[in-house]
């Protein structure tokens, strides 16, 4: 079982979501975050003070999948979140030991 964390541009969320759901990857948790990376933020003005906004709004997807779904999930995200411009974000994969569905108490593979 793996956890896939994908940090993407907010306006790509809808496309990614729809593509995932079409491929039956329906369990998704979304988090609004702010990111710092290579992408440069824009400047903001405030009564004559100019400052750079260095944290940009990003969306983080967390998707827990059984191992056999990892590749497909990653592929879909790569395809749908890419604009080709700096700031497109990253995907990280890590190992998860257990999953439990609260409603039923199911564990493991079936719970994901």
């Amino acid at each position: 079982m793996k956890k896939i964390e994908a940090i993407i541009k907010p306006f790509k969320l809808d496309e990614v979501k729809e593509a995932l759901i079409e491929s039956d990857i329906t369990g998704i948790t979304v988090n609004e975050v702010k990111g710092h990376g290579r992408q440069q933020g824009h400047t903001e003005l405030y009564r004559g003070a100019e400052y750079v906004v260095d944290f940009l709004p990003k969306v983080k997807l967390e998707i827990f999948v059984n191992d056999e779904f990892v590749d497909k999930t990653v592929e879909i995200i790569l395809e749908n979140a890419r604009t080709g411009k700096i700031g497109d974000g990253k995907i990280f994969i890590s190992h998860v030991e257990e999953a439990i569905r609260i409603r039923t108490g199911e564990r493991g593979h079936d719970a994901v």
Binding site: F11, H42, L45
Partner: protein, 425 residues
């Protein structure tokens, strides 16, 4: 309109021409202030609240910017083009920058300067209304330039034709407070702009969540409050006609709100706050041309009909034709304004103390009056449409295109254009 004002005042108040009446002056000043409030506070919050949060501040800026630019254009030349002596279509240039008008001059029983300010507020809100159709995709500078030119090229001539001694006025059109001049005009300009500039990216596919319907409802409440100045102020004095216009301006929107809620309940099994306030605004627009002409029954029919037609415009017509009239300036202001302007021919009380000179007063024929009403809405619409296209292309040319870049649109105009956010938590 000055002639009309005088004749109205002669009947309904006790003022003598040439003498300042403090009560009328007080009423006209507060009315003018109320109409100011409608734009940078009422309309701005009403519109911004319905916009996605990434464009809400820009929406506010569009409305506020249109207001300051529009009012300035009015003082600089708009007033002169609308109300100084001219021909059947447009006024002259002799009052450019209010040249030749003294602070002591009176317009009926109150200072001409107050009349000028009152009319300027009407001009400014009209162009601000149009912004509702095109939020989320227009360059800010283009918009400001558009607003300035539009006041001079489109608004002032129409105001002259209908109110300033032009030919529609002489035909006897009944338009108590600006159903044609303000609402149809602004609403149609909005539609024209929306078509010219194109749809927002993702329109019809992505859910455009309104930033805050609650804020929009505060805006609607401020609009209603200000509208008493708009409508009852259009009696040009604190008289019995103002009292009538006041009461209908309270009643028709209440009925319209209930109507919209019922329509929603029937169609969607759900009543929304946005629906309630859309009804209020539709009712306010609808009663505008009729406020000082109809009784409670007339106000009821106007309230009912305004909501029904605006609901239809927003829910059905817009979908059908697929234009992106973002905040329904056309769907609400044009359609309800049109309805009110036509309905007044049938609903106006036959009371010669109320009626303006025209077919209904002269012959009692509602059909003849309807003909005149129809003529004026058609002429205003045609003029607005052509003028708006023209001004759009001029403003667009000056600023190298009217539309923001795709990236800016996606990021949201608040940050991309203004470098500001509607809310920082």
């Amino acid at each position: 309109m000055l002639f009309k004002i005088l004749s109205i005042l002669g009947i309904a108040s006790f003022a003598f021409a040439g003498e300042l009446n403090t009560g009328d002056t007080a009423w006209m000043m507060i009315s003018t202030a109320l109409v100011l409030l409608m734009t940078p506070a009422g309309l701005a919050m009403f519109y911004a609240g319905m916009t996605r949060s990434k464009n809400a501040l820009n929406t506010t800026a569009m409305v506020a910017g249109a207001f300051v630019v529009g009012f300035s254009a009015w003082i600089i030349a708009g007033y002169s083009l609308a109300f100084s002596d001219g021909n059947a279509f447009i006024g002259g240039l002799k009052n450019i920058f209010l040249n030749g008008i003294s602070w002591k001059d009176l317009s009926g029983t109150y200072p001409t300067y107050v009349f000028i300010a009152f009319q300027g507020m009407f001009a400014a809100i009209t162009v601000a209304i149009a912004s509702g159709s095109i939020i989320g995709r227009m360059k800010y500078v283009t918009w400001l330039i558009f607003a300035f030119i539009w006041i001079l090229v489109v608004y002032a001539p129409i105001a002259h034709m209908v109110w300033g001694g032009g030919f529609l006025m002489n035909k006897g059109t009944l338009d108590f407070a600006g159903g044609t001049v303000v609402h149809m005009n602004g609403g149609l300009a909005g539609l024209v702009l929306a078509i010219l500039i194109g749809k927002r990216k993702g329109y019809g596919r992505i859910a455009f969540k309104p930033m805050s319907v609650m804020l929009a409802s505060l805006g609607a409440a401020l609009l209603w409050f200000g509208w008493f100045g708009f409508n009852a102020g259009s009696a040009f004095g604190a008289n019995a006609i103002a009292g009538l216009a006041f009461l209908t301006t309270a009643f028709a929107p209440a009925i319209a709100a209930i109507t919209w809620m019922i329509l929603e309940y029937i169609v969607y099994k759900r009543i929304t706050l946005l629906g309630a306030i859309s009804g209020i605004v539709a009712g306010l627009v609808g009663i505008t041309p009729a406020a000082g002409f109809v009784n409670m029954f007339g106000a009821l029919i106007i309230g009912l009909g305004s909501s029904i037609i605006a609901f239809w415009g927003v829910v059905w017509l817009k979908k059908k034709f697929g234009y992106d009239d973002a905040l329904d300036a056309f769907g609400v202001h044009f359609l309800a304004g049109l309805y009110g302007a036509l309905a007044v021919a049938f609903l106006a009380i036959k009371d010669n103390d109320l009626l303006w000179d025209g077919p209904l007063k002269a012959t009692g024929s509602r059909l003849a009056q309807f003909g005149v009403q129809l003529e004026s809405v058609v002429i205003v619409s045609i003029y607005t449409a052509i003028g708006t296209v023209l001004v759009y292309y001029i403003a667009s040319l000056i600023t190298g295109g009217a539309r923001v870049s795709e990236e800016e649109e996606i990021e949201g105009l608040d940050e991309a254009i203004h470098g500001e956010k509607s809310i920082n938590l």
